[in-house]
Symmetry: C2
Subunit: 279 residues, 2 copies
């Protein structure tokens, strides 16, 4: 396993692998790896002749009041996990080498990125789209892997890849959950034991919605109100959004008469967590 911070070194390694006609698999991460990441990496390991994982906490996708500084970082632990998964190359760049003096170019998806998390986190998806474009240009993957937990992110990345003719396939893999139902997230590391229990309300909300729909409920407003009631009945929880949207356009639906995405963002104490499901 090669570990490098150098963009030039990644390029020269990838160039050699491409000349050997190897399929380049790529899993971009912000580190603090958990079983969600590892599910992507295991799948990528099966598909790819050469597997790259990047670890980069991207300052551009954090708002000024968000958790960039305290975002969990544990390179040693991550490295050991990636070694075990037989990753070929870890790209672990410095922010100053990703965003050099005079940096002034951004990639912006202007439709899918505007609802849901895009409303609560202005600039977030511009940061994501920009860094993913950069990483794709550096690593030049044939296939890149993203988790469905960040459903909107995955859709934005699929869209930008198509729109900008980036020659990579995008594969989106299922949410990995704890036995309790809590979706795995690097941000779960922030939660106290008590908060982790409180965070189960996300999964409970998804189940509540699922049951209501099973019972024949078709009105998004009714379902959202029920979920809001559940959440507001408990302490230290704050709703960022509860939305029922078309899974392709991410625009609110008026009636649940076909596959619909339920997406939630909830503050548990100060920690913002998201979850989603197709119902």
């Amino acid at each position: 396993m090669t570990i490098t911070k150098s963009i030039a070194k990644v390029r020269s390694i990838i160039k050699k692998q491409k000349l050997k006609n190897k399929i380049i698999g790529f899993v971009p991460t912000m580190g603090a790896l958990h079983q969600g990441h590892l599910s992507l990496i295991k799948k990528a390991r099966k598909d790819a002749g050469f597997l790259v994982v990047s670890i980069f906490v991207n300052p551009l996708q954090f708002g000024p009041k968000e958790d960039y500084r305290i975002y969990p970082r544990n390179f040693k632990k991550d490295r050991a996990l990636l070694e075990k998964e037989r990753v070929d190359l870890i790209f672990y760049p410095y922010p100053k080498n990703m965003y050099t003096a005079g940096f002034s170019t951004y990639v912006e998806e202007t439709s899918l990125s505007k609802s849901l998390c895009g409303k609560s986190r202005p600039g977030h998806f511009r940061g994501v789209a920009t860094v993913v474009t950069k990483l794709f240009n550096i690593v030049q993957p044939d296939i890149a892997y993203f988790g469905r937990k960040d459903y909107q992110q995955a859709q934005v990345i699929k869209r930008l890849t198509q729109d900008l003719n980036i020659p990579a396939q995008i594969r989106i893999l299922p949410i990995i959950r704890q036995k309790s139902g809590l979706a795995l997230s690097s941000r779960n590391a922030y939660l106290s034991q008590k908060e982790e229990k409180k965070a189960l309300v996300l999964y409970q909300s998804l189940r509540l919605a699922r049951n209501l729909v099973k019972q024949g409920q078709r009105k998004p407003h009714f379902i959202k109100t029920k979920i809001a009631k559940l959440i507001n009945s408990r302490k230290n929880l704050k709703i960022d959004y509860i939305e029922l949207v078309d899974p392709k356009t991410l625009k609110p639906v008026k009636k649940i008469d076909k596959k619909t995405l339920l997406a939630l963002a909830i503050f548990v104490g100060k920690i913002r967590l998201i979850d989603n499901t197709i119902i």
Copy 2:
């Protein structure tokens, strides 16, 4: 020489050439080729093992009141010229295949693109940056060639290539002029004989500025006023802008005490023409 409208075909041809370790040269154009384009193509032919020219009048870089519909198009003539220059591949896409349904991702350079033509043509450089990123992702050139006549465009493209880690070198080649001094431009085709004579005012303005600086003049305001006077003394000319800027930042200079870019945009009748020089 292969001619194709198919993105997939370009990709498969390029992939083969890359596996042969050929250097891919690329000259993106909007067609209506003139000696300015040909100077880029001749240089590219010397550098590259495989030479691609694209012909695509990019709707995204034209404003709603600009000349997209009437922009000169002459594929037969262009093809003959490119054949003669021993171009390997012409990529000649349909707009609908470059901008498919749901297209919503844009590349935007937010500093260099804001002055000069960026002020008069809002959205223009976003359109340029987006299409160039797309073309680079399709053609995957090792070296791409642009003319200095579109000085600001060249700077924006250099910047975005660096910022987005696009693995292409950008080469910028000198302005090609008629004997009269008029800079070659596809838009010159719009000019009547009378207007073409009037258009010489651009080159005369550059010479005027040059002479003033030679004589020791250091004040941008003085030079701009002199040029404006020259232009306004003639009929059917309208100034869009006259600017003296730092050639790297494209921001106005207060004093001409180092290399300075003089950039002009002038309407000759209804035709907007640009020119520039370093003084």
